[in-house]
């Protein structure tokens, strides 16, 4: 592979802006690498190479005319296929949207493009972002670049695999219960799920509206800060987006976060952790201590209920969010004898098993006679979980916790056991329920597989998280990790 593709985005970008490397040239190199690797990895559901080349050339021309390049000028990036892209097929990994081409772009896509980024294409994901391995894609599974027999995590597995393998410098995913952080952990990346409302959801095809958030994948903390800064900020088209200024994450990155107190929840570690993850985590705590952070034990007693709570709230919202896929206006339509037949045939054939399972769970949880016991109870527990975090953040500034209970598992290993699959998000879901920002970054490589650490902060503490993460990364040297597949042959 061309060594340029392994360079951090923040090193490549100045070369592009100054014209030392043309956007076109870099795009050709990227597309060439995509074509060499895609047959093994399967990151993309839709590639947009021709348009990417044309856009790259157009950017070169604009630079030649003296236009000010944006922060992501000429950078090849990938985006998850549940983000609407004008004129570019957007499937959500589902048959029901197999041929759907949106007439508009998500706000985050517009921000990326305004920043000068060029989309390579749309990445694979679990259908409607429901899953933790990308095996629930209606089209094909994506492979983990560290071990092609293993999953990249999910649901944003395609976006993670694309960045880990060097196909793209940065990518966007979405995180409802861990769908950015867990694949980041499995693929040795930084994956940031911002505070709920920090990034616009307009054009993010909803799974669970009160939990969904667009997140950033990068190979190092600085690149991650850069991407987050580009996409964050208030959007009048999303009523739940926060009207708060976006701090200059990049400029503040090397600021000393001060003598931060970092909490770790000992009760979480008892929830079932692979030994290599536990070992790595304790080492990570030592590293943080060595950096001058105070490590304190905290308690998040209601986290035990997070998984069942999530699997009531998220499917309940999904059952309504997915009702619009009815075969009437767009997407798959399977004709029927009458309206009911049409609905049943369309949705019956258009949705996969996991999506149907969750629609049924959610419909049940909201039904008359069950709503109080399930949906409303879950909302009450969600409040308790949120309060746990509020209390904890009275005593500490950040919380450190492993991102996932294990390293990447094998393809097919959990596919027939939904509960085992749900457990993969054990440590990310409580944070999602509380709407808090959380960054997963590598804390080790065990048996040839990366292990991720989550740094969680109070609402809008993105900058603090990035500062602590940057110091950690400097101390461990665990950035810009190269999976075997992408090793640059020695000259």
């Amino acid at each position: 592979m061309n060594p340029l593709l392994r360079r951090p985005a923040h090193e490549i970008l100045p070369m592009l802006s100054r014209g030392e490397l043309s956007c076109r040239e870099l795009m050709e190199i990227s597309l060439d690498w995509v074509s060499q690797t895609e047959g093994r990895i399967h990151s993309f559901l839709t590639q947009d190479g021709e348009r990417a080349l044309a856009k790259a050339s157009a950017l070169d021309q604009r630079r030649a005319k003296g236009e000010m390049p944006g922060p992501l000028f000429g950078l090849p990036v990938a985006v998850k296929d549940n983000l609407a892209t004008k004129g570019l097929r957007t499937t959500c990994g589902s048959r029901i949207l197999e041929d759907f081409v949106p007439p508009y772009s998500a706000t985050v896509i517009e921000r990326l493009e305004q920043g000068g980024a060029v989309l390579l294409g749309k990445t694979n994901c679990d259908e409607f972002a429901m899953g933790s391995s990308t095996e629930n894609s209606a089209f094909f599974p994506t492979r983990n670049p560290w071990d092609l027999e293993r999953v990249p995590g999910g649901s944003s597995g395609g976006s993670a695999a694309a960045v880990a393998s060097g196909q793209a410098f940065l990518s966007l995913g979405t995180d409802t219960g861990g769908s950015v952080r867990q694949p980041a952990s499995f693929c040795g990346l930084c994956g940031f799920k911002p505070t709920y409302g920090r990034v616009s959801r307009y054009g993010l095809i909803a799974f669970a509206s009160s939990l969904d958030q667009v997140g950033a994948f990068a190979r190092n903390v600085r690149d991650c800060a850069l991407l987050l800064e580009t996409i964050a900020g208030h959007d009048p088209l999303d009523s739940t987006s926060l009207n708060e200024p976006v701090p200059p994450y990049l400029r503040e990155l090397e600021n000393n976060p001060g003598s931060l107190r970092i909490g770790f929840a000992s009760d979480w570690l008892a929830m079932g952790l692979a030994p290599e993850v536990e070992r790595t985590f304790h080492r990570a705590l030592d590293t943080l201590r060595g950096l001058g952070f105070a490590i304190e034990s905290i308690s998040l007693p209601h986290s035990h209920y997070a998984l069942p709570t999530y699997y009531l709230i998220a499917p309940a919202e999904a059952s309504a969010n997915l009702a619009r896929f009815d075969g009437i206006r767009y997407g798959l339509r399977v004709p029927g004898e009458n309206l009911k037949d049409l609905y049943q045939a369309t949705r019956g054939q258009g949705f996969g098993a996991e999506v149907k399972r969750r629609i049924m769970l959610g419909t049940y949880a909201l039904s008359a006679g069950y709503r109080d016991a399930f949906y409303l109870k879950a909302q009450q527990v969600r409040t308790l979980i949120r309060r746990d975090f509020e209390q904890a953040f009275g005593a500490v500034d950040l919380i450190a916790v492993p991102t996932a209970p294990s390293t990447a598992f094998r393809l097919g290993e959990k596919v027939d056991d939904p509960l085992a699959m749900y457990m993969a998000d054990l440590f990310t879901i409580p944070i999602s329920l509380a709407g808090l920002p959380s960054l997963s970054l590598p804390m080790g490589v065990e048996g040839g597989l990366p292990v991720g650490l989550q740094l969680v902060g109070p609402a809008l503490a993105e900058s603090h998280i990035l500062q602590a993460a940057w110091r950690f990364e400097q101390a461990t040297g665990l950035h810009d990790l190269v999976p075997p597949l992408a090793e640059v042959p020695r000259a």
């Binding site: 549940n82 983000l83 609407a84 957007t90 959500c92 949207l97 759907f100 949106p102 007439p103 508009y104 998500a106 959801r201 307009y202 054009g203 993010l204 095809i205 909803a206 669970a208 509206s209 009160s210 009048p236 088209l237 999303d238 009523s239 739940t240 309940a316 919202e317 059952s319 309504a320 997915l322 009702a323 619009r324 896929f325 009815d326 009437i328 206006r329 767009y330 309206l339 609905y343 419909t363 909201l366 039904s367 008359a368 709503r371 949906y375």
Partner: protein, 528 residues
Amino acid sequence: MRSPTIGLEVHVQLNTASKMFCSCPVEFGAGPNSRVCPVCLALPGALPVLNRQAVESAFTVALALHCQIQSFSQFHRKNYFYPDLPKGYQISQYDVPFSRNGYLMVETEQSNRRIGIIRVHMEEDTAKMLHGRSITEHATTSLVDFNRSGVPLLEIVSAPDITSAEEASAYLTELRAILRTLGISSGNMEEGALRCDVNISLDAGTRAEVKNINSFRSVRKALEYEIERQNALLDQGEPVVQETRHFKESSGITVSGRTKEEAEDYRYFPEPDLVPLEITPQWIDAVHQRLPELPEERRRRLGEMGLFPAEAATIANAPELARFFDKCLLVVRTDNYVIVSRTGINPDSAITVSPFTANAKEIANWLLSDILKYLNESDLTIDQTKLTPIGLVAMIQQNKDGRISKTKAKELVTAALQGKVMQVGEKGILTNFPLDQDKFDEFLEHKTATVTATIAAIGSMGLTQISDPETIRGWVQEVLAQNPKEQDAYRLGKDTLFGFFVGQAMKRSGGKANPELLNRIVREELGK
């Protein structure tokens, strides 16, 4: 005879500029699916953003219905599948509506009763469906027009306080008059801007709900039919079934729809795409201050002027007519006008003329005879014609002064209604006035001091008039003290300056001074 218990559930389309959750225009009669966007078509990823104007219209109505406004309320998703509902759920309000506990005074020939309003809430309209052979070659085909999808709706639920078909009809008439006076809906049932479902039971027994009622007349007919049907059932010892029935316009009967047993489970839950709706006390106060005179109050005022109840109701319940009537009265109250020559308005010709003398009763008589007949026949509102308040009052005056015959006057009014320019009289006031009230108002505003008084008087509509002579005298004295030169000129014979002093004093009063009193006091002070 068993006594009926009736409750009405009314849906009102708000005539906001844009839809409830997107910026598509609210426009009827546009080409099918031409007023749509990702939000109201429910494309994947689109999100709703609440229209503040819709919220304000909504709680304006609630205030007019004496409801309590909740400072925080919530939107819920009401889930069901139908092609006219693109998201598969309707954004509506459920257990936390934005207002509750109001009432409406409803007058019939027999009674004047207070009908409770249980709640008023906001929701979005569905798309419009067209079925069968009438629109396509296949009887089984249906088409959907999403122009209506997302238009703001208000649901107004009455208490089961209504006791007759006549009273139900009166309730709707009063409600429509309020909506029109507030200017937030056409209230037109035939066009679907106002829709009504009724709930009815006899002797507080099992109730039936009747839907699909498309006119005021049908509400009455449907209720009369249901009362008869339920009475007949009970007479035979048979139970009334709790069910939804549909009114058949053609035959005037109701037929059974789905029964409540198979009623849908809407699985309501809070809409996570919207933040809670906040209506601050300041916002409520501001709207409350701006509430116009409501029909009930207006009828009372017109009654006090000597109009018969039926006359007062006809004028008061039609806001354009009421505004026109009030402007006529204002024209009468104003003394200062300009002479308008054949070449148009000449600012230098501003003079004071002798006051018009038409009274409320005379104006009402003119409005309610030929004019109203013409408006009804041509399906126009008075605003849509060329007839102006000043034109009508001048005409009445010409006729009263014996300058033109009644027949001639009527001819001229008809000509104005038909859009022809009006020639008012051969000589004297307002000759060949273009009869364009807007232009006239604009002229008044910018051209001469004389006319400021007129403007001020027009501007004082709906404000509390100040009739305290000493307060007014204070303003007049200030004006005189500040304009010694003009005073001298006036005393030397420049009569036209009288209007200038009146205008300046009126300005000082913020347009609130009682014009007759002001004129008198200016004359007194100048005479000193």
